[in-house]
Symmetry: C2
Subunit: 641 residues, 2 copies
Amino acid sequence: MSSVDKQLEQLQAEIENELPSDITVSDVKYEGPELVVYTRHPKEFAQNGDLIRKLASKLRKRITVRPDPDVLSDPHKAEERIMDVIPEEAGVTDLDFHVDTGEVVIEAAKPGMVIGRHGSTLREITKEVGWTPEVVRTPPIESSTVSNVRNFLKQEREERRDILERVGRQIHREEMSKDEWVRITTLGCCREVGRASFVLSTPETRILIDCGDKPGAEDEVPYLHVPEALGAGANTIDAVVLTHAHLDHSALIPLLFKYGYDGPIYCTEPTRDLMGLLTLDYLDVAAKEGRTPPYESEMVREAIKHCIPLEYGDVTDIAPDVKLTFHNAGHILGSAVSHFHIGDGLYNVAFSGDIHYKDTRLFNGAVNDFPRVETLVLESTYGGRNDYQTDQEDSEQSLVDIINETHEKGGKVVIPAFAVGRSQEIMLVLEEAMRSGKIPSMPVHLDGMIWEATAIHTTYPEYLRDDLRDRIFHEDENPFLAEEFNHIDGGEDERQQVTDDGPAIILSTSGMVTGGPIMSWLRHLGSDPESTLVFVGYQAQGTLGRRIQTGWDEIPVSDPNDPGRSSTLALKMDVETVDGFSGHADRSGLMNFVKTMNPRPEKVLCVHGDERSVQDLSSSLYHDFNMRTFAPKNLETFRFK
Amino acid sequence: MSSVDKQLEQLQAEIENELPSDITVSDVKYEGPELVVYTRHPKEFAQNGDLIRKLASKLRKRITVRPDPDVLSDPHKAEERIMDVIPEEAGVTDLDFHVDTGEVVIEAAKPGMVIGRHGSTLREITKEVGWTPEVVRTPPIESSTVSNVRNFLKQEREERRDILERVGRQIHREEMSKDEWVRITTLGCCREVGRASFVLSTPETRILIDCGDKPGAEDEVPYLHVPEALGAGANTIDAVVLTHAHLDHSALIPLLFKYGYDGPIYCTEPTRDLMGLLTLDYLDVAAKEGRTPPYESEMVREAIKHCIPLEYGDVTDIAPDVKLTFHNAGHILGSAVSHFHIGDGLYNVAFSGDIHYKDTRLFNGAVNDFPRVETLVLESTYGGRNDYQTDQEDSEQSLVDIINETHEKGGKVVIPAFAVGRSQEIMLVLEEAMRSGKIPSMPVHLDGMIWEATAIHTTYPEYLRDDLRDRIFHEDENPFLAEEFNHIDGGEDERQQVTDDGPAIILSTSGMVTGGPIMSWLRHLGSDPESTLVFVGYQAQGTLGRRIQTGWDEIPVSDPNDPGRSSTLALKMDVETVDGFSGHADRSGLMNFVKTMNPRPEKVLCVHGDERSVQDLSSSLYHDFNMRTFAPKNLETFRFK
């Protein structure tokens, strides 16, 4: 009998010991980080409100109770009873019964009303029908990504359970090594922006954190082939952790599955969906640009199938000696500061991922409050000595001014923006500016994946800033549904129409002008001196965006009807940069993130920034806070314990 | 056709092009780092004295010419002719003809006379008989190690040629990677003394440098199992380089073969023989102490079979992008500072191994003169602020005084010493002191492997200090043959006899009193207050030697007739420490080694020393010479390019 089976047998005995004699346990299993308890008495379990909480705290496990399939009530009858229990205002749009696990997935416009106060409505459902309810939100804006992911996971349910069971047994395997050490190996994004990737390793466990591409340098990928990464086989990695869905962190996650990885990816639920959206688009763009994509779309599905979503604040066992906790990073939807607690108090490491330290319109500021962190791996995008950004208020005023000026000239405003994050922030600014009359009401056209990304944002309001979430939840004033917003879904014809029509604002991908519909907008409006091109986000070295920003006024454009032919366009639009909308903390934000940590880490690794930025930030943190700081190179390994 | 075969075809064409038309080439092959040229006209080749040198310099290869087996003269006839050519005083003791390669190995007491001025006698032999002569020295003191190694290699000649051919093709394979970087990974001996082991890696090549044990902590071995070491398979290592034969550098080299490694080990010839001696003893000691040896003696033979001996100063291709050059390290016989030239001028790294910077009686001081070294990995055994050793002259006087005092009291002097290095140094001191009357003539008993190790020293006088070598070569005054030296080969009976007899000096292994015959001498003489125990070498933490040195006077000894039973011995001998005989540079030697380098390296990694020693040396080098210095931990990876 394996050590995991022995462990489960023992857990079952402990649970039976804790339960009242009228509740029996027919099986216990690991599914990913959770312990699943099957019972012939699900209703009795639910009646005893505190039972699960008590068990979880006693066993120090995350526990899910499911009915033994033998005692399940008929789904048709159950459906009726469930609909009786849930208030009509919850807006249930779908019920999906899974006979194999006794779960019923309830999709509703207002999940909170299905859950009830402290989960009371959910318990009521189980008491009535025995099934275990699970709730998801009906996207307020229809999102093909969300529905595709949900349908796909429904379809792959059985295989997914196998994966989860395998992963669960891996997580709870016996610790083998008596040795104690903690190391970080840098596989990318050191002294550069792009191709984020790290290995966190102990004698027991190896965790890959992020696996991104480098915008503007597609051949520079993380060093996955060295022995300490995947050189010893993709399955020498125990777990993958994805801090957020931007491609410079996620693009090559599906590639891992092509290399044979079949372990878990830990990320938030919105990160999972956004990763699906962005990596499929990444393959699309590569194909359009005549590059061979590094993997097929099938691998994106594999990645999604292996995702284990975690919520902010959940402390989760992901290996015998590692607990992971995600915290809000304030950068994009679902972005997470990832905190690793290693060993039994041996060491703590936090990876900031990309962060925004102050609140923005979209998100609360990044969390920097941890019980302990000895080493912090900190992004440094704006870590340079002079990388201070304008205050949000001033930035918004600048944008308002530019829009008004352009409007007066009769031109249009074109804003290249990342589909995910900056676009929604700008949408919120524009919606308020129009509502309050700071700028005239005019159409705001959303091109590329911005509409779809916005739909995903509205599906997960829990991940948005408190007051924005409340507006969407309680007051039914979802700003993303404002009538000015138009989804460009008519291709070149619609773009021509917009070009010919009156004043308008266009938000279009890609954010660094490296391809996508923004290229088409430059063709349509680039030579119009009345119009304005406004950069609102970071432009990486080597991207066309950075070149235009630094003064290039002749830019290569390809013929839409014959992408092979390209010509040169003389750029006559005004070019403006409004900073302060970045998803990244600026210099003071980064310094404050560290300054206000309590306790402060002993060591900081400054990564994810140009050479100058990481060096500046590293030396300032050292001087101001007297901590050991490093500006690693790629392919180094640091030992901490 | 493989790229190596194409390369060889091209080389053959180039060689044919350079040769006079009467000399034909029947084949060219790589054997290890050498290019072997087979010809049907070996005599004509030899007649044209400069031909090989010219070819080597034109092709930038090490070239060996061998006769095509078809044209070989009869060995019996050849033997006669060879003996005619070689002067009688050369003292030929064996001729061994190898029909497969056309080589004849000549063993002689005076190899120089077989070689002749600039190789003239060797060329004369080939001109006469066509065979390619190879010369080895007849050990002046019979050495079972040397004869075992030679016989074994003779026996395994065919397999060895296969190995060399395979290694040769590996070395000359096409470079695959366009990437450029240089890294060092520490697998042991960082902030500690023992288990030396490093990986030097480029995108193309991975080289393991040393693989030792840790005296006094047998369970602490180099971190071979991490993915960046052997975790991705033992054959992800392209080459092993062994700086010298001491067990803290060599003990686990044979283990690599148990793990499946089958590539080359580069070391000097004496290091190969001493490694054989010391690792077999290591297995022996482990067995005697009831530990399971990590490998079998068969693996020692595998290791010896895979050795490719290099001489000091030979610049040798060991990978498509790495050239290795050994230089005298002054530490023990055959010890080498290992210089790696990487890429075409990309980077240079030197590993000091263990060094002695000043001349000793046995060896010239360590070489620190390289055309370029950007990074130096430096031993730090005596790197601490106060680790100054007494001058050699004063040390010798102290030893002389102790011997005289003990002699006057009627006691005996017991000196625990490493079999290899310190023992021979002390032998030279004692021989001179007796010859010049500074101490009375008395028997010097050599116990453990000291006699055998001394025999190996006399086999390779080229590796000894200039004037010592000359004494042995030219004046026939081999000090190791002095009549006072007695080899203890009669076991306990002889030891009892020595104990009962008059004044004597005993040199015995192990040098750190961790086992071996020194334990027996402690039993015999430990309670004799008239006798003196003299430490002359470094005593590592955790060893009994260190404990006695720091004042322990009750020591555990086991019953020689029943090793399971142990009792406590009250130590009543005088205990003295005479430093200055160490094989290691002291603090000033280490500082001077770096100071006098020209150019000085940019970076120094201080390793192979206690925590305090590496920290002190690292900070002093930084302060005095303004270089970047590091005191690495084990399991770190540094990137240099």
